[in-house]
Amino acid sequence: MSDMTNTLSSGRSAPDERDEGRRISRRRLQREKLFYRLLTLPAVGIVGLVAIVPLLLLFVGSLREQRSGAFTLDNYINTLGNGFFMRTLATTIMMAGGVTILSVLLALPLAYLLARRTMLRNIVMPIITVPRMLPFVVIGYAMILLLAPMTGVANRVLMNLGILQQPAFILFDWPGQAIAFCYNGIVVATAVLTGVLMSVDPQLEDAAVSMGANRLRAFFSVTVPLATPGIIAAGALIFTSVVTAYAIPVMLNGRVPYMVSLLISANLLTLQQQNLAYAQAIVVSVLAIGVTTLGQIVLSRYGQRGGDR
């Protein structure tokens, strides 16, 4: 006969001893949790002090009147209702949008080549990584070396070749800024899009080719749709970086400011209109963060279909 029950030993603890055991282990677990919480405290504290609190103060400041400190929405009204600011915001968005589209379009074929050819990728890798390890100021210097009217390489070469009769004054104007932004945009787009295209299984494209499409058609009908969420995310990244750029607009500024960051810093530093500057800064960051979040949402929602190697 098989035994279904188990032998019970003698000598089981009394009921209060049993509860004592449970209390000991529960206290131990509580101490553990406290210990873990303490470990996270420095990190939270630093971020609180250096990020959360300043941003909160920024927000509060934006709601107060400059002189009296009274709470008001005037700063926002003066921002969103100000024709000059809104026009500059519009040109900023145009610049950012144009740069984004141009960068993505120009970088996409290169990213495709890099994604599919390991040898090429190994050679080009340093070329697209090193610029990202430089402060953007250095790129500004390069732009000046290239596009300056008298001394710039481009102007001198084109004039020597006879293509230009007189130097093109594009540096300290929106074309110069656009070119600088496009440089950064193409570097970032190439890096990110190569990763995106690498995550699309090449076999899917090969399958389309084997069914009769030529390589170009296969690329557009199979790979691009799958890569679109990643492309959008890359675009969001570039767009945001242009909208919030400061160094280039100041370095290559012309008479008419195209980028809002100039207005914000003018209010902040020269015109002593800090609270207005805060409000403008918040408007710009809402735009920037909104676009980034949108890109992330698109990426996470539509990202992984057919994309796993």
Partner: protein, 278 residues
């Protein structure tokens, strides 16, 4: 290609291939021209770059002490900020990943904020706190700002590293008699150390070139090199020794790339740089 016949070189295919090669050359030229121009100009001591042009080190020799001060200032601040960020991030990440704390998600997102908010905005916001605390125009202020930025990158890295470390290692150590701290010291740290080292390199580089964040809180006594180069262009235009300094920064960037590429191998480089923020 599964076709058994070789594709004929029709004119369209020929032009297609040629166009592709032209495109590739143009793109590579475009990607490399800034670095090349800056380096060339730095070795020619002039703003009128010419090929091949003469070669001299005049620009480098005339780099003023103020520039070197700014350079070393930046290195010190970046090093210290990286070190602090790593030392704070590792235990925090360990607690978040293993501690099963309530609100872990919220904490993760909280520390991401310096990453998500545009640097310009955060830089302006810092003024609201730094001015009353007299932290602007100070080494500590710059370093603190860098720490906030480094911390969010650092936490992302270490969280990922710890999540990639199977929990069984720690469980095994505990079953063998090690308490939590000993486990952390003997098992967790050595296993995440290589990844942390790479993360530290990336964070250091990021700190070195941070600009918008520090612009508003820097000053005459606290000038990171990127801001120094920037303000000199505004005030005095492009000067040859400034271009030389930019050249030095290029060498630093190349040195770091080599360091990372050598320690990781090209395969990993492709993966990490291709991610969202590198």
């Amino acid at each position: 290609m599964s076709a058994t016949t070789r594709p004929r070189i029709t004119p369209s295919v020929f032009f297609g291939r040629a166009a592709l090669i032209v495109y590739l050359v143009i793109m590579l030229l475009w990607l490399t021209f800034p670095v090349v121009l800056v380096l060339l100009a730095s070795f020619q001591g002039t703003l009128e770059v010419s090929f091949p042009g003469e070669f001299n080190l005049d620009a480098y020799k005339t780099i003023p002490p103020a520039y070197w001060e700014a350079f070393w200032f930046t290195i010190r601040a970046a090093l210290l900020a990286t070190a602090i960020a790593i030392v704070v991030a590792i235990p925090a990440a360990w607690a978040m990943v293993r501690g099963k704390l309530a609100g872990r998600r919220a904490m993760s997102n909280l520390v991401l904020i310096p990453d998500v908010v545009p640097q310009l905005i955060l830089g302006i916001a810092l003024l609201t706190v730094f001015i009353p605390l007299r932290l602007s125009n100070s080494f500590i202020g710059v370093m603190l700002a860098l720490v906030a930025l480094s911390l969010s990158t650092g936490l992302r890295f270490t969280e990922a590293l710890l999540e990639g470390l199977p929990e069984e290692y720690e469980q095994a150590a505990q079953s063998l008699g090690a308490d939590k701290l000993t486990t952390f010291r003997l098992v967790v740290l050595p296993l995440i150390a290589p990844g942390v080292a790479i993360a530290a390199l990336f964070i250091f580089m990021q700190n070195l070139i941070t600009f918008e964040l520090l612009f508003f809180i820097s000053g005459p006594s606290a000038t990171p090199i990127a801001i120094r180069l920037f303000s000199d262009i505004i005030d005095r235009g492009v000067l040859p020794y400034a271009v030389a300094m930019a050249g030095i920064l290029v060498y630093v960037a190349i040195a770091f790339y080599t360091l990372v590429a050598v320690s990781l191998g090209p395969k990993y480089m492709a993966g990490s740089v291709m991610s969202r923020k590198g």
